[in-house]
């Protein structure tokens, strides 16, 4: 059974189409990349997957998350799916954390909720231990110190690791990563990417990786969907799509990435 299947999804605001006739699906343990320039509707598609679109945006078509129809479903029903079936990591690690809560409190919240959903109580020292375990799993140095810190006291890369820890705390079947490395510097990017890759494999989670960065996507997913102006222009296994791109836009993306690589290696 597919964890997430999107079938002929249309998103529009005031009659202006944002995403048109988009279809793709992700099975358990599968890793899919959603590529496209900014404004191509990637992030909106991800929000539509969990039914958290801004009210002004109208959605038609069908979105099924964990066997439950999302479009038109009441919020209360979807709250149960969010986190358990799919959890998110966002682009901007500073704003993704509540500035008034210590890291430990932010990570504890989804942990406690997941435990409650599994029908057990998680509190006090046991909860604290699980928070630290998670912070260790996302390879944060000095987890005890980070746990006591406020978001503004730690670095961007560390914040993103905390955000990943919060997503993992939900123990989702599907991790949706929306440009998780875009706001980070290049070396941190590589580390976060490696971390995500390892974590997703270890836990055999499915992954929906959203990015405009071709090499980044190629490294971490098996299949890609290329989007341009709200339309899927090409889809298929990474090797195929990037090796022999059929669509003009995909070709342009691949050429740009290649030109960059060549320039780096002094071949241009």
């Amino acid at each position: 059974m597919n964890l997430l299947s999107i079938d002929r999804l249309n998103l529009s605001v005031d009659g202006k189409p944002l995403v048109s006739e988009l279809s793709f699906s992700i099975a358990a343990g599968e890793r899919l990349g959603l590529i496209g320039e900014s404004g191509s509707g990637k992030s909106l598609t991800a929000m539509a997957a969990t039914g958290l679109l801004p009210r002004a945006i109208k959605a038609t078509g069908s979105v099924t998350l964990g066997g439950q129809l999302v479009i038109g479903a009441p919020d209360r029903m979807l709250d149960g799916l969010r986190g358990t079936v799919a959890a998110f990591v966002f682009q901007e690690p500073l704003t993704a954390l509540d500035p008034l809560l210590r890291v430990a409190q932010q990570v504890a919240e989804p942990l406690r909720r997941r435990a409650r959903r599994d029908g057990r109580d998680l509190d006090g020292a046991a909860l604290g231990r699980e928070v630290l375990t998670l912070l260790e799993q996302v390879a944060l140095p000095q987890p005890e110190r980070i746990a006591r810190s406020y978001p503004h006291e730690i670095s961007g890369g560390q914040r993103q690791r905390v955000a990943i820890a919060m997503a993992l705390a939900c123990r989702p079947q599907l991790l949706i990563a929306d440009e998780p490395t875009t706001a980070l510097d290049v070396t941190t990017q590589a580390e976060i990417l490696k971390l995500l890759d390892t974590l997703v494999r270890e836990r055999s989670m499915a992954l929906l990786f959203i990015s405009h960065d071709l090499p980044v996507v190629a490294e971490i997913v098996e299949r890609v969907v290329v989007m341009q102006r709200g339309v899927a222009v090409e889809a298929g296994p990474v090797r195929e799509v990037f090796g022999t791109p059929r669509n003009d836009y995909t070709r342009a993306l691949v050429a740009a990435a290649k030109a960059f690589d060549d320039a780096l290696e002094g071949r241009a």
């Binding site: 929000m47 998110f88 509540d98 919240e109 959903r117 939900c170």
Partner: protein, 281 residues
Amino acid sequence: MRAVAASAPRSRGSATLWLGLLLVGLHVAVALLTLVWTPYDPTALTGGRLAPPSWEHWAGTDRLGRDFFTQIMIGSRIALIVGISAVAIGGLIGVTLGVLAAFATRLLDDALAATLDILIAFPTLLIAMLVVAASDTASLGTAILALGIALSAIVARLTRILAKRVLLMDYITAARTSGTSRIGVVFQHVLPNIWPTLSVNFALQFGLAVIAEASLSYLGLGAPPPNASWGRLLQEAQGTVYTAPIGAIAPGIALVSLVIGVNLLADGLRDIGDPTRRASR
């Protein structure tokens, strides 16, 4: 840059905090003291009429010969009760309405916002007077309720704007995607994040409520005579302000010191409550 930004309000913050604590603490202490002890029985005629300040009567006596200092002290208690209850009522109604408006559909939100704007266009005192007039008995309770209702519109509008801004933040989306319900988001993220700004506004409202109650009492719409509200003392001093100016000066000083104290205290507390304003450990 952050170090500079964090250290500047800190030194200023602690000074305002201590001065605020001192002033408010003084009023609270006096208010509590009046529950068990006052220099004189507030209703007893203890000296000549309109006597000037002396060792026996620190603020002189009023036109009936009652000790004026005793009445000022009891006024502290009334002012604190009025301020706290009015802000509590206004805060409860206002925050609830504001948060609802922030979550509401466009149409409902616009309707609520327009209603609030109209309410705010009327002076707080006028709304309070209308509420008091509508309930035909003038009592302290009615005055408090009236002020609470009048203040709630201002709180609601502020809450709505603040909550809307917080709801746009990524951490709200992050919380929602991980399964936090709307109500959960309100209590875990929205209210704590708007609290620093809201609390300063509550302090302003407190001052407003105390002054408005004084005005209501001054107009004879507030606490009826046995209650020594500062506003009523001011009103009574009106006719004798040239012969016994202490009658207007003393309640005036009491009123101003409490209002300033609460504002300073709120300012100082806000600086403590916001971790980004504190110097990091």
